[in-house]
Amino acid sequence: MIVLDAVDKVYGQDRKPALDQVSLTFPDGEMTCLSGPAGAGKTTLLRLLAGMETPSRGTVTFNGQDISRLSGTARKGLRQHVGWVSRPPFLVSYWNVEANVAYPLRLSGVPESIITQRVRTAMQRTGLDTLRTRRAGTLTISERQRLALARAFVNRPGLLLADDPFFSLDDTESARLMEALQLFSLAGITVIFSASTAPFRVHPMREVRLQKGRVQQDAVT
């Protein structure tokens, strides 16, 4: 479970808050959409949850551990359990889909026999199994997003964070991506993603609406 308690985050010399007194709780396995206009603080919140930033005030606790008090090594260890999908996703364009998905496992020193199995599962869940040998550079935006999701999933994270994964996707592509995210959530992974407007959904989902760094609305819709 992740708990944010009265979190402030300020940047720069003008001390303008990107997040202002944000208190939220994210139970395990829940899927949450952080919505709001540009500059509402969605990406900052995701970066705080990923341990890439520390709060200016307040605490962020991950299973009872205050992230800002963790040592560098412990924070690195924590990041192993966090899947991060950036916008645009960083991919090795001249590698094929399979090699891209397997990359985090190879970096972590996982044996090849386990890698093959996990990569296959991740590609099936994201509908990439037919694109196995395609070069990442030749994929559509939607396919690239799903590839980034598969790559984040393959490491079996406890928390999956995606920064605006639906950006510039049409409805069909968004629905496919949403389906993949929901599958991850059903597998027990806490999924938190940002979107400027809440995307199309089949199942009810929690939506936290941010405005100027504050929580404007927190409801299951």
């Binding site: 960083f90 970096l107 020193g109």
Partner: protein, 303 residues
């Protein structure tokens, strides 16, 4: 431990893939590295051989000749011999008795007839000396000491040649050191550039790894393995080039040696020498590669 091993194996595989990814470029870089290393090491070997006594270029070295008085008795000559043998400033010396000197002279073409009419041997006994300290000051000091010896008639030393030789050697040394420093700098620049170019070529992989939470050490690892392999292969190539070029030079040596009455041969580096060159080159490449990575480190790090 197992995870660490797998990580290292993957880094090695990655570096091998980079190597075979553009074989022509890698081969050209290896050739340049090999040639530079061979020139750098070859110059060191030559300079070493030039200054070390066993292979010294003796025709450049000034000698001191001590002429004994004609009336010097055998015990008196023996005393000078013992003095020379005991002096640390004397590196080697050769004694030429009066009879030997006459024989040498008689063997010279055209002099046989003239010398056969002599009643007595007019030649003095001599000592031909090579000094340890070949600077003009050192030679002059030794000359003065020898002049003071009993039954020594005169001591001959071409002081002006000693000075010219000293100046010539100083200039040669200075030039060699400059070339050596230039080659060394060029080597460091080349090694640095190798890693920088590799980073530019493969930065996509490195940046993706970083965005996936890989530690800086993990990202650096394949670059350093690549540097190590490149260094070792460059060292091997340099060893092969040195071996070949010294063979070619030594094949020409008999002609040079015959012309200048020398017995000079450049020593060929053995297996130990080549292995040493490979190890030093590998480690130097890793060290310079590491510096290059510090310089590059996360200049364009993704968020």
């Amino acid at each position: 431990m197992k995870t660490w091993l797998y990580q290292h194996l993957y880094a090695q595989r990655q570096s091998r893939r980079w190597f075979w990814g553009s074989p022509l470029r890698e081969l050209v870089r290896l050739l340049v590295l090999g040639m530079l290393l061979a020139a750098f090491t070859g110059l060191s070997l030559l300079a070493d051989d030039f200054t070390q006594p066993p292979g010294e270029v003796i025709w450049l070295e000034p000698t001191i000749v001590v002429f004994m008085k004609p009336e010097a008795s055998e015990p008196e000559v023996r005393a000078v011999w013992d003095t020379l043998a005991a002096r640390s400033e004397v590196r080697t010396f050769r004694y030429v008795s009066r009879d030997d000197a006459l024989k040498e002279l008689q063997s010279a073409p055209g002099l046989q007839g003239a010398l056969s009419n002599l009643k007595d041997n007019p030649l003095p006994a001599t000592f031909v000396i090579r000094a340890r300290d070949t600077t003009p000051a050192g030679l002059t000091a030794l000359k003065r000491f020898l002049e003071a010896q009993k039954q020594v008639d005169r001591v001959q030393l071409d002081e002006s040649w000693a000075k010219r030789r000293e100046t010539l050697l100083d200039s040669l040394w200075g030039a060699a050191k400059d070339v050596w420093a230039f080659l060394g700098t060029l080597l460091v620049v080349l090694l640095f550039d190798n890693t920088v170019s590799l980073w530019q070529r493969e930065r996509e992989e490195a940046l993706v790894a970083r965005s996936l939470g890989a530690t800086p050490r993990q990202v650096r690892r394949p670059f350093l393995y690549h540097a190590l392999a490149q260094g070792i292969l460059g060292g091997t190539m340099a060893g092969a080039l040195l071996w070949w070029s010294i063979h070619v030079l030594n094949d020409m040596m008999p002609i040079v040696n015959a012309l200048f009455h020398l017995s000079w041969n450049i020593p060929i580096p053995g297996v130990r020498g080549v292995v040493g060159l490979m190890v030093i080159s590998g480690l130097a490449n890793v060290l310079v590669g590491r510096l290059a990575l510090i310089y590059l480190q996360w200049q364009q790090e993704p968020e």
